[in-house]
Structure formats: C-alpha cells, structure tokens
Assembly symmetry: C2
Homo-oligomer: 243 residues x 2
C-alpha cells in the first residue's frame, strides 16, 4: 500500500480521501454527483452503490446528519474506503460494506432508502477495452458486476416511495438510463448536462429519478468545467469549495 | 385581413413573413429549429409539418436548393403561408399544401423525404387551456389535430432510411418524444437545450431523430437566448443574421 496517497484537494471540511493509482482515483464525476443530490432534513438513510474510495459518502456527510452506507464489491478498494472513513472520523455516520449489491439488496428491506447515489461503470462489457487496465479499473469502469438494468431493479425495491436514485453517466447512455428507469417505475425528474468547456458537446450527465414519481422533467442550467484558458470555472471551484 | 403584418425582422436574404395576430406570430422556436437542421448537398426533399405561415420553409430555402413542402391544415393560415411564399418569390422552391398530414401522408410514397421538420403543438389537449384563444391558436398549440405519436408514425413511413425528423418542443415532453421515436425505430441522435438565460432551467429542446439510426446520442452545446440585461445573446443574433 506504499503507493497510496492521501488526497486533500477537497476542502469540504478538510475531507481526505485515500487513493491508490493502481486502482483508480476519485474523480470529478463523484464530486458533481454529490453536489447534484437533493438532501433535506427528512433524509435518514442514504446508500452509495459502488462507493470506491468513498468520495460520495464523505462529501455527503458534510451536508447531512443522515446515516450513509457505501457498498463496494472489491475487497482492496473496500479497505481503502474504510481507512478514508476512519481518517476523517466519520465511522459513526458512514458504514462501508464489502459485498456485491446484487446479493446485498435482497437482504435490505423494501422501501428503506431516502436516497441512492451511484457513479456506475460507464462502459458496456466489451466497449472501450484497454489492455493492461487492472481488474480494479475494469470492474469500476465496465458493466462487469453491475449494469443499468440491475441498478434500477435494485433501486425500485429498496427506495422509499418518492425517493430518489441519482447517477452520473455519459450522454450516449442517456436513453438507456431513461429506458431502464421507466421500466421500473422510476421517473426521470431532473437532468443536468456537464460541458467540458463552452462550445463543446456535453460529456457528462447527472440524472435524478424518483420512484413512482409524476412525469415532468426539469433540465437544470448547464455546468461548464473549464474556462477557455483551461482553468476551472467559478462554478466548479465553488463546488469544490475553493471558489 | 387588415390586421396582417409583414414582418421582416428576419434578415435571411430579406425574407418577409406575413403574420396575423389573431392567428399566431411565428416565433423563435421556428427560427431555432430551422437553424438546428442539418442539410447537405444530397438533400432533395424537405417536408415541414404544420408549417403555419411558413417560417421554416422560408428560412431553409436560403440554405438549400432542395424542394420544400409545407403542410398546413388550417385554410386561413395556409392562405397566409401562400402569400408569404409569393412575396418572397419562392414559388418555384416551396410548395404549400392545405391538408391534414394524417391523411396526406398516406398518399406520399414510403422512403421519400430526406428531412422532416415540425414545430408541433406543445400542449396535450386539455393542458394549459386558455379561454378566448382562437381556434387557430388552439390547433397550433394543442395536440388536437396532431400528436407526437402520429408525427412519429408518419415520419417512420415517409422518411428515407437514415433521414431525419427534427422537432422543437418543451423539455417536459422530452421523454414522450424519445418514447415515440424509439417505438417507430427513429433513433434520437442529437439534442440541444435552449435556456432563456444563464442560471435558468431549459425551456426549449431541439431534437433530431434518424430513421433506423444507430444508437449514440450527442448533446450539443447549450444555447442561451438572453443576456442578463435582457438583450439577445450574440449566438441568437447570429442565428437571426443580425449579429
């Protein structure tokens, strides 16, 4: 574990996230997703599926007193996440479980969670394969252990009525996401498109689905990541609490 | 017809559009849709469904030599459209037909059109009803004579393979549009969101579907209509060819 790095770029109440470059670095995706989620005072239980080194639970813990659970299928990654929770003194609020969500969810009561978050694998199993990627990265990036269909079936069962599943993904999967949500009576209610810079196509989407929600979609103001000179935009720096 | 007004706001080669306030004014929607459509040198036949006073055919005629047909169900509106075509000396390129597209399309050969455009009624039949609106406006704004399902069934038949249907609509109907497209093997390929100003939710969408197209969605850069001081943005003025 010598190559682990404590990353304190995030300034959310000085949260530190332990990263191992051979596994993967937490990324902007997770920060944007945590920022997108709507939490309120009635939010009691939050589940982050495929939590990695737990950036989403850690960021959310600065915004809510709710109980947060992260599920991570890979044991080595799970160990990193646990260390991150300990270093940040969040063991009373955040629980990390090392299990396959496809098995775990059967043990979770129906209608239990107020919020689910997930930064899922972006690629289909045989899509965009790069040789030499570690198994850690492959599982995190490809739909080997979890695909959108499974994610929505799971969410349908364990979300409370009118509770939300929030995911970050690529625009080219938007139609699949909508399709799998609708199939499971999860109504896409809010979308935000992320553009790397002005005049570029969107390269990321954030989407909120509501279990048994009414129809009616809101498209949030767009978010640009970089200025034309390559610097982060004010909006992004604000999200990182560095603006 | 004394209340007719020749509107020459559009500076596309000095196109003039005859409007009658009791019917409806052409609007930004149509200009943005005409700007969104991808035309190329092989484009031979274009159909504009629900053409109103023909703003879309007139704008497109400045961008292509293709033959353009506008269909308008309402006879009085059709008469205005015809006058607009005559005033602009476009009778050789643009043909306006006074018929219900639900009947007309059965007489059109399959796989005929390269491009369909449509600025359809935005509201469901009983949605957002305002008393006192003329029947002209009601038919133009409510799905009385044409709904999304009919539009996609028609498009499926009369579009060539890999040809496009392009529509402008409200974001809250995006899921319906996608659903009706997919049901008819029309693949949503390109979307653009229009925001009235910075930090506002989108209030308009432009979407291109391709008959029998491959999957893979592109989200175009967003378009803002107004600056914070209420003026049109540079992008909008450029589209109006006034920038």
């Amino acid at each position: 574990m010598n190559s682990n790095v404590i990353n304190d770029l995030l300034n959310y109440n000085n949260i530190k996230i332990i990263q191992n470059k051979d596994m993967f670095a937490f990324s902007l995706d997770s920060v944007l997703l945590a920022n997108f989620v709507k939490i309120n005072l009635r939010t009691k239980n939050i589940l982050d599926i495929g939590t990695g080194n737990a950036p989403i639970p850690l960021i959310l813990s600065t915004k809510t007193k709710a109980s947060i659970t992260g599920v991570e299928i890979q044991q080595d990654v799970f160990e990193l996440a646990k260390q991150s929770i300990e270093i940040n003194n969040k063991i009373n609020q955040i629980k990390i479980i090392n299990e396959d969500i496809n098995i775990l969810y059967k043990k979770i009561p129906s209608d239990y969670y107020d919020i689910i978050t997930c930064n899922p694998p972006f690629f289909k199993i045989n899509e965009n394969n790069k040789k030499g990627n570690s198994i850690y990265k492959q599982i995190a990036r490809h739909e080997i252990k979890l695909n959108l269909e499974q994610l929505m079936i799971i969410s349908k069962k364990i979300l409370k009525n009118n509770a939300s599943i929030n995911i970050v993904h690529r625009p080219n999967r938007l139609l699949d996401i909508i399709f799998e949500m609708k199939k499971n009576n999860i109504e896409p209610k809010r979308i935000q498109f992320i553009y790397p810079k002005i005049d570029s196509e969107a390269n990321m989407i954030l989407i909120e689905g509501i279990k048994n929600g009414n129809s009616g979609l809101i498209v949030e103001p767009p978010l640009y990541v970089h200025e034309e000179d390559g610097k982060y935009t004010k909006e992004i720096l604000k999200i990182f609490q560095m603006g």
